[in-house]
């Protein structure tokens, strides 16, 4: 068992364990904080897959942006005097059964498919390669995503102010 394996199992445990708490805890603020650990664990998995730039973007955008937005949402949609920030749950037993069946089916499909894999080659930092791809092959997608993000933020601001 190499160091890589130990680190992989550690990050996988952090990711799945805290994701389980995200969907089972009743307090929304606790769930949001466990989501933080999940996102950190996923960033660690990206690093293990030698996708360093994606890992950094994951930390900056998800932890710094989306998670703070979710916490703001929790704070703005509950009365401050109301200390209990709880969420109700619906149909736990049937949905747990359905999700377990879905999980077994997915894992079975993933394990029985013969994926085309190659020999692993060591990679340098992926930031330069991603930048070259973004301004050559994927430049139209890049511009469209910029416009989409601008429209989405303007729309969100105008919708929230109304």
């Amino acid at each position: 068992m190499t160091v890589y394996d130990i680190i992989f199992y550690l990050f996988a445990l952090i990711t799945i364990g805290s994701a389980f708490f995200v969907v089972t805890l009743r307090n929304i603020v606790y769930s949001a904080f466990f989501l933080l650990f999940t996102l950190f664990g996923i960033a660690g998995l990206y690093v293990l897959l030698s996708a360093d730039f994606i890992a950094i973007v994951q930390l900056v955008v998800y932890v710094g942006g989306i998670l703070v937005l979710l916490l703001f949402g929790v704070m703005l949609t509950h009365k401050i005097t109301n200390v209990q920030i709880k969420t109700g749950t619906l149909q736990i037993i049937p949905s747990a059964v359905a999700v377990l069946v879905l999980a077994f089916a997915l894992i079975k499909i993933f394990l029985t498919t013969n994926w085309k894999t190659m020999e692993l080659v060591s990679q340098n930092s992926s930031a330069q390669g991603l930048g070259v791809l973004l301004i050559n092959q994927y430049s139209v997608v890049f511009e469209l995503l910029g416009i989409l993000l601008l429209i989405a933020l303007i729309g969100a601001a105008s919708m929230a102010r109304r």
Binding site: I16, Y46, F53, L70, T87, V99, A152
Partner: protein, 103 residues
Amino acid sequence: MINISLYHYLIVSSILFCLGIFGIITRKNAIMVLMGIELILNAANINFVAFARYGNFGNSGQLAALFVIILAAAEAAIAMAIVLNIYKTFSNINIDEIDTLKD
């Protein structure tokens, strides 16, 4: 003990996906549903990056993961604006009580 392969990452991502589905269908609070959606998007991202690494497809797979992250940011902003509007109208965000289109 076998070495870490593509299958390990696929199993992690499928478990994460199923937990996200579980969160979406069991929670009443709209923000918890959003968290479930984030979990599902992250599971998809792990698949993108893992296939890009083990299939030697160059950096295109990582770029797809980057696009998914950008779309998730836009989605979270829009969804939060909608949730705030729902809260203004109905004074709660329990998605099983919000069943009218117009008040």
